[in-house]
């Protein structure tokens, strides 16, 4: 793989002056940045900086009091999570949010829900159109299973899987949606070095092979600096810096926020 040739395109999602408050507490104030096609954007910041809130705003779970969001050049209104999914935004969670009562395969198949067209009567009869559709989507899902190397656990209930694998299944479910924009909330949290390396590889491969735009939250600075094309730094709900890893690393505000300032 060669990253040098990667072509980063125009703006995919633009966040403009977003302010979000719960009661009197401001979680985000006046945040603006953009995510460009085909890039890997890392959002970093100390705990409580508002990173997860930012992702929640992007996929329509929280509704900001102020600001605009443009996706593919169209300003969106009254966003709900399922509408965001329909537009091509997929997401994984900080605390794994899998469907515990279902097998790995079924979990990933739920990611195909939006693409399945047969109606409730066809599904009740099953044989015919619905079966053809199930099999077609199963083939897509099996490709993702191969890609993420989780063949052995496809029939296992996800509740029984170790944490690292659960994170991988969650990524698989998001990939099954064939999203344009993939939001990853701490995909490597709680993993050992080996698992982290695997996950990095998967993230880079997804970006490279499927051309998926990725925005991720991560605490491990080594990982962030290695894999991301650009970095946005948040602190106490404000944006501190925005730029390539090298630029961000040199930014005085960022250094102060992470290392503390002597007064």
């Amino acid at each position: 793989m060669s990253y040098g040739e990667k072509h980063i395109g125009e703006t995919l999602l633009k966040v403009d002056n977003i302010t979000l408050a719960f009661g009197g507490v401001k979680a985000l104030s006046d945040i603006s940045f953009e995510i460009r096609k085909h890039e890997i954007l890392a959002i970093i910041g100390p705990n409580g900086a508002g990173k997860t809130s930012m992702l929640n705003v992007i996929n329509g779970f929280y509704h900001p009091q102020q600001g605009r969001i443009e996706f593919r050049g169209v300003e969106r209104r009254a966003m709900r999570p399922h509408l965001a999914a329909r537009q091509g935004i997929a997401r994984t969670f900080q605390n794994v949010a899998l469907f515990k009562g279902m097998s790995t395969l079924d979990n990933i198949m739920t990611g195909r829900t939006l693409k399945m067209k047969s109606n409730i009567f066809q599904q009740a009869i099953y044989w015919g159109a619905n079966q053809r559709e199930e099999i077609a989507h199963r083939e897509v899902v099996e490709k993702i299973i191969d890609f993420l190397e989780i063949e052995a656990i496809r029939k296992t209930p996800v509740g029984r899987l170790p944490y690292g694998l659960q994170k991988r299944v969650e990524l698989a479910r998001a990939l099954a949606m064939e999203p344009d924009l993939l939001l990853l909330d701490e995909p490597m949290a709680g993993m050992n070095v080996e698992e982290k390396e695997d996950m990095c590889r998967f993230v880079l491969d997804v970006n490279d092979e499927f051309g998926t735009t990725i925005a991720l939250i991560e605490h491990d600075m080594g990982v962030v600096m290695d894999i991301s094309d650009r970095v946005v730094v948040l602190d106490y709900g404000r944006k501190l810096a925005d730029g390539t890893p090298a630029v961000v690393r040199a930014n005085q505000d960022v250094i102060d926020a992470y290392l503390g300032v002597s007064h």
Binding site: F22, T52, N56, F61, F93, Q94, N95, A97
Partner: protein, 338 residues
């Protein structure tokens, strides 16, 4: 001024206005439809009767709230605990005990019952999903119904502990002919109010009460600071048992001690969703609203649709209310986090 006080003040002003508006509505209806009967004195009388009835609903709802607050269990058996307590009390009185002594003994039985339930049902089911615990309490419901009637028989029994039952007229100066109020209902309301006050103090100011609130907030955290969960559960179920006993005395003196006592649980459920499962003030206010609303609706709306709407009116009232305020009257607004 803090927002809670402000909101309280607004409601204190708005409630009489709301009631007056509803009254005016009925007056209008009566003017159009000659089958309807309406006078302001009668309206207030029905309203008061409903409010007093509502206190008794609150009394039952209170038992639910206590257990739900401390253990997250939706205790469906609260109704059968009321029946069981009343049956036991009557049983002891029939054996020749004075009612005060019988009360103490029955309270003891309820504590014993709480211990058995904790040991046999709750402890083996700890960490199971809520629905399983709920089903288990339905099991307790059936068991207690059968057990109480096996022990004490299923005849309708009279319970008389000397509460006056004569009707009396009040406010004769304001409304023509005065307003008829049952003095039994008044006593019941006073007892209910006293019990609530005692419980509120107990929760707020004793060590056990503090532990209870801690457990209600977070089981794991409470365990980790050394609060004995099992003891707390026994205490809560005992308190709920004694509340059931008081409710049983009130309902039993009013309507006789019989199987249908177990079914008053169904009257308390809409109170719960109206007031919120975890709120003691919610249970009180919810009970008053349900009691008054139900009575007024039965008397003034019932004739229009064929009567006997008491069975479902409270549920519909609570349901419509929930559509606008899903967390109930006093429930806290939930901010979902992911």
């Amino acid at each position: 001024m803090n927002p809670t006080t402000l909101r309280f003040g607004i409601w204190m002003l708005a409630t009489p206005l709301l009631i007056a508006t509803i009254g005016l509505g009925f007056q209008g209806l009566a003017a159009v439809n000659s089958a309807m009967f309406f006078t302001w004195g009668y309206f207030v009388e029905v309203l008061i009767a409903g409010l007093l009835q509502g206190v008794l609903y609150s009394l039952v709802a209170l038992g639910f709230v206590l257990i739900f607050k401390a253990s997250g269990v939706f205790n469906f058996a609260q109704g059968s605990m009321v029946l069981f307590a009343a049956l036991t009390l009557v049983g002891f009185i029939e054996m020749g005990l004075h009612w005060t002594l019988a009360f103490v003994v029955t309270a003891g039985v309820m504590v014993l019952l709480a211990m058995v339930i904790e040991k046999v049902v709750l402890r083996p089911l700890v960490n199971q999903p809520h629905i399983i615990l709920f089903m288990a309490t339905i099991g307790i419901f059936y068991f207690l119904d059968g057990f109480g009637q096996t022990l004490w028989g299923s005849d309708v029994k009279l319970l008389d502990i000397g509460i006056p039952k004569d009707p009396r007229f009040i406010l004769e100066g304001i409304f023509e002919g005065g307003i008829l109020v049952n003095s039994f209902d008044l006593v019941a309301a006073l007892v209910g109010a006293a019990l609530v006050a005692v419980l509120a103090l107990f929760f707020q100011y004793t060590r056990v009460g503090r532990a209870l609130r801690a457990v209600a907030d977070d089981h794991q955290a409470a365990l980790s600071v050394g609060i004995p969960l099992k003891t707390i559960w026994v205490i809560v179920w005992s308190v709920a048992g004694i509340v059931a006993l008081v409710a049983g005395i009130m309902w039993g003196s009013k309507a006789g001690v019989q199987f249908s006592l177990a079914l008053i649980a169904f009257k308390a459920l809409p109170v719960l969703i109206l007031g919120g499962f975890t709120s003691i003030p919610g249970a009180i206010v919810g009970g008053l609203i349900i009691g008054a609303g139900e009575q007024v609706a039965e008397v003034f709306v019932g004739p229009l649709v064929g009567g006997a709407i008491q069975d479902w009116f409270a549920y519909m009232l609570a349901l419509v209310f929930l559509l606008f305020r899903p967390q109930g009257l006093f429930g806290e607004r939930i901010i979902e986090r992911i």
